[in-house]
Amino acid sequence: MNGLKLYFRYIRLQLLSGVQYKGWPIMILQVIIVVISDPIGLIFLFSRFGSIGAWTVERIILIYAMAVTGFGLAETFFRGFDYFPWQMIRNGDFDRLLLRPRSLFLQVAGSRFHIHRMARVGGGIIAIIWCLMRLNFQPTLINIAIIVLGLIGGLFTYCGVFVMTSGIAFFTIQGLDWIFIFTNGSYQVTRCPMDYMPRILRYMFTFFMPMLVISYYPASAALGWGEALWTGFLALPAGVAFLMLSLGVWRIGVRHYKSTGS
């Protein structure tokens, strides 16, 4: 409990210092433009080519938005890990955290908070609701639970990616760019309709990083596209399992840490 309080105090301090910059409403505008412009190519493709069999633009955008919202949530609450490799390790600030008798995880997670990252979450949720309404979603308790658990699973999954990146960063900070495949790159994969997705992508994003488990399967289960109902509930356990794996990598990294910077 004490740790959680500390985390929220960190977040509050970050928030207050962020609002000091006059530019912060523009930052929110910036993320809104990112959220709109990112799928714009896909929407134009659909408007020119029409649907792909059963795969309408609403279906694809729903899956895409599930993944993006999960990513946005992780980015909002665990932003510190996103910055960790590039900033904290490089300049040696991490040494200071090691001296404090508090959870390293919480200290790193709370080291950044950008209010404008919420815009991605907001945009994603609006897109999800719009798609669900267009797709005749039955708002039963089970269906709503599946979607919400999917988003929470997404939060854990993407948090796992950030933590894993930070863990790997203890060994090398050069050439870590390939990790974008699992962050911003991963939800681009949802642009392919499931039936036509190359098998290697499907397996990679189901069994290694469970991106499809937190986006496609909940959507499919809640709207009855053919996947079994229970697969919709896998999002949360899969997300937690992936985060645990990442925490393992992170712990190994911390143990190997030799200070850098001055």
């Binding site: 990112v34 493709l45 080519f49 760019d177 790159g185 392919c192 190359p198």
Partner: protein, 282 residues
């Protein structure tokens, strides 16, 4: 007159050596280039998969060829876009940004050089460096792919020649827009927001997200004359052969005209900002 001329040449020479030093510095980041290329290649492969699905299975699958772009052309476009989008300004050069936010602009202003052209040389160099490592690795990967994913050769040899000329103009255009963004950034309290939005709009309208020919029909006229088509779309149209060399004059002229516009606005804005700049830090 001759004194003026020799000072101009000296100035130009200084800018060129700044350009050279900065390029050489950038070459040290080979690993970063390789890692970046991995991401880029992954990105293109997904893009190609999506195009292939639309061109083969969509309800109106003939829409692509009707818009004047075959699947093969779209695939080549995707590869080249992944390479040459690297010229686009994605962020202000970190060295220059550091100088703006830390107050070192003051020192820069003491140099007996025009700040705009000094920074222009640096910005141009930082546009060029990623092209060498990341770009060449992506290019080789594109040429070696299996047939349906491969980057195919240019439509015609004259087309290739026009592509190269047009890429050079695109490089000028990208650098001059980057400098305009930089001049806006000199207004420090605004932070990164406005500059980021400016760069993002450029990126979207360049065709990097989707070839401009596949955008909605009613936008086509606007899309071709807006400045950012010159970033990427015009050179690539020459390559895949949807823009004929006979139309090269106005297309490249358009690129150069927009570069000139951005340079004039950038330089004016910058000198106005520098007149009453508030130095941050001490």
């Amino acid at each position: 007159m001759s004194k003026e001329r020799s000072s101009f040449i000296g100035h130009l020479r200084a800018c060129l050596s700044i350009f050279r030093i900065k390029t050489a510095q950038g070459f040290q980041y080979r690993m970063a280039g390789l890692a970046g290329a991995t991401t880029g290649i992954f990105w293109v492969l997904i893009e190609i998969t999506v195009y292939t699905i639309f061109y083969t299975y969509a309800d109106t699958r003939e829409a692509g060829p009707m818009a004047g772009l075959s699947l093969e052309q779209a695939v080549s476009y995707a590869w080249l876009a992944q390479i040459f989008f690297l010229m686009q300004p994605m962020s202000i050069d970190s060295e220059i940004l550091g100088k703006i936010t830390s107050g070192d602009v003051g020192i820069e202003m003491c140099r007996p050089m025009d700040l705009y052209f000094h920074w222009f040389a640096k910005t141009a160099a930082s546009r060029l460096v990623p092209l060498f490592w990341r770009g060449s690795i992506t290019l080789i990967a594109g040429l070696l792919m299996p047939l349906s994913y491969r980057l195919t050769g240019p439509a015609t040899l004259t087309g290739l020649l026009f592509t190269l000329i047009s890429l050079f103009s695109a490089f000028l255009l990208c650098s001059s827009y980057a400098m305009l963004v930089c001049a806006v950034r000199l207004n420090i309290p605004w932070g990164d927001g406005p500059t980021y939005i400016m760069m993002l709009i450029g990126g979207v309208l360049s065709g990097g997200y989707l070839p401009l020919q596949l955008w909605p029909q009613f936008l086509q006229g606007f899309l071709l004359i807006q400045p950012f088509a010159g970033y990427l779309d015009i050179p690539l149209r020459f390559y895949v052969g949807t823009l004929m060399p006979s139309e090269g004059g106005w297309a490249i002229g358009l690129q150069l005209a927009w570069s000139a516009v951005f340079m004039v606005i950038g330089k004016t804005l910058m000198s106005r900002r520098l007149k009453n700049i508030v130095i941050q830090g001490g």
